[in-house]
Symmetry: D2
Subunit: 176 residues, 4 copies
Amino acid sequence: MKKYQIGVMGSAADLEYPEEFEKAAEKIGEEIAKSGHITFYGAEKDYDSLSTAAARGAKKAGGLTVGVTYGKTKDVWDKEGNTDIIIPCGLERGGGREFVLVSSCDAIICIRGASGTLNEITVAYQLDKPIVVLKGFGGWSEKLADTYLDDRNRRKAIGANSPEESVKLILNELNK
Amino acid sequence: MKKYQIGVMGSAADLEYPEEFEKAAEKIGEEIAKSGHITFYGAEKDYDSLSTAAARGAKKAGGLTVGVTYGKTKDVWDKEGNTDIIIPCGLERGGGREFVLVSSCDAIICIRGASGTLNEITVAYQLDKPIVVLKGFGGWSEKLADTYLDDRNRRKAIGANSPEESVKLILNELNK
Amino acid sequence: MKKYQIGVMGSAADLEYPEEFEKAAEKIGEEIAKSGHITFYGAEKDYDSLSTAAARGAKKAGGLTVGVTYGKTKDVWDKEGNTDIIIPCGLERGGGREFVLVSSCDAIICIRGASGTLNEITVAYQLDKPIVVLKGFGGWSEKLADTYLDDRNRRKAIGANSPEESVKLILNELNK
Amino acid sequence: MKKYQIGVMGSAADLEYPEEFEKAAEKIGEEIAKSGHITFYGAEKDYDSLSTAAARGAKKAGGLTVGVTYGKTKDVWDKEGNTDIIIPCGLERGGGREFVLVSSCDAIICIRGASGTLNEITVAYQLDKPIVVLKGFGGWSEKLADTYLDDRNRRKAIGANSPEESVKLILNELNK
């Protein structure tokens, strides 16, 4: 079976979010792992994030996880050791690290999401990769659900109603 | 006088736009040049853009211009030689080149703008750089005018009513 | 057990090398895998390399393998599917991709090696990462064996007499 | 006249060098400026370098200067304001910044040089750009003078006997 590299993007914990959002992000990772695929996430050095939560979920389900981080070291916010591979890419956070991360993904799933997630969505769109966004969790994911990012009408950011559905939809797109 | 490096971002010509939009972009560059500052733009290899038009305007007014491009060569869409410095940064277009470009700017002015410009706005916001967006020309600039990109409420994308005003507003921000 | 990310660098196949060199490179990967660690390599799109051979060896021994490549796609020279994770980093080959690759490694082992490998050695040295170089296979590895790259005298490129010894030496350095 | 972007690379001041070496580096920049071309250099944040000295010389002679630095800010070691354009490229020092720098140069001149300069020479060689190295100042420049970096025999690192000659030789190569 071909293993896909699926990125899970979402709000960082300097912006607060309810625990149920974290559970939803973990569920996305869990579903990716159960499907036999690889979870990519943006590993931070200073705080947790919904992206990091996805790696937690993926690891609980026995999946392979890859964290892409900024700077020169592998020190990331991952106390429990949920990350199999850490890529300290040598590019700064705020667009550089995010570019390497999305370039490395076959497709991305987004939940909630502030400016960093929006950045990642614009990269995925420009590289013509499938994008699924969760509905019901606010953020840029909610705002962009079922729309094109511009008049090139490349791919819609496909809205999903649940973590489970988000993984189904992304696999549908990847298997087309 | 301290010379600022001001980026002008906007739609690429694979998406059509009226000639008056091009004139407005040129005007932004012209005003930057007249103020004694340096115009940065995203140099494409395959077509014109509002960003490139700004460099044209800056050069007509005798300003210094810097184009940041992708790939390994200095071949850019600039038939008239309006670019003083070309930076082929070695990162791909679609997020990588854009990151190096925005990292190199003290502030950015955006006109219209599709997914690429949106990407650049997210980088500027994350790097906490002043952002001015033109109103009346559509695109992401119009949509984001006078809003924050997320709940961190770092800096608003300040709406401007004309090319002239956009340069005044960005200099105000930079001189604060 | 802590899993190290160990890069294996070496000549590309546009420069010819004897089959026994390929076997030696495979052996390095095999030994990394047997020790329970992760093999990183520079994945090319146009031809084989000693770096790619190491991934082959690692995979034969059941190890985890990560290929870092240039450009936007995951199409790499790996017909047999020896690569678990492919990182298309979005930076060009010739220094950019190599930087992301070495940044992602805890240490590197080099065999033979032309200008690309020399580039990777300079990055590892500057990032203060352990470097082991094989003796007896020529190239920059041979030339630099047991020397410092400059007067900062950070770390010697430690000479190894065999693939097996190279992995022992690198683990010694990493476990210090 | 076509203006070339010529990089001057050399040892950083954490490694000591005599004042006459600094004067020689300034002379290279001066000659580039007098020839009407643009001087690129690697701008450091913590100390002076022969590369920075070249920018000093270029500016004294009225030339245009571009410094490429790491990280997110334009704060560089340039007390006298000799830099017209500063590119904080968002990539780390030790291979990333150097890659963007060399990618942006049409050719490079090297004087003395430790591991950083060696890195830059490997990038220039791989991108097939002319390389001139000063003889008589030690470092990697001296070691590599009049040799090919590998068996691809792309371009020799051409040895020069003086700063003046180094600029003549690089212009010869560029005008071929």
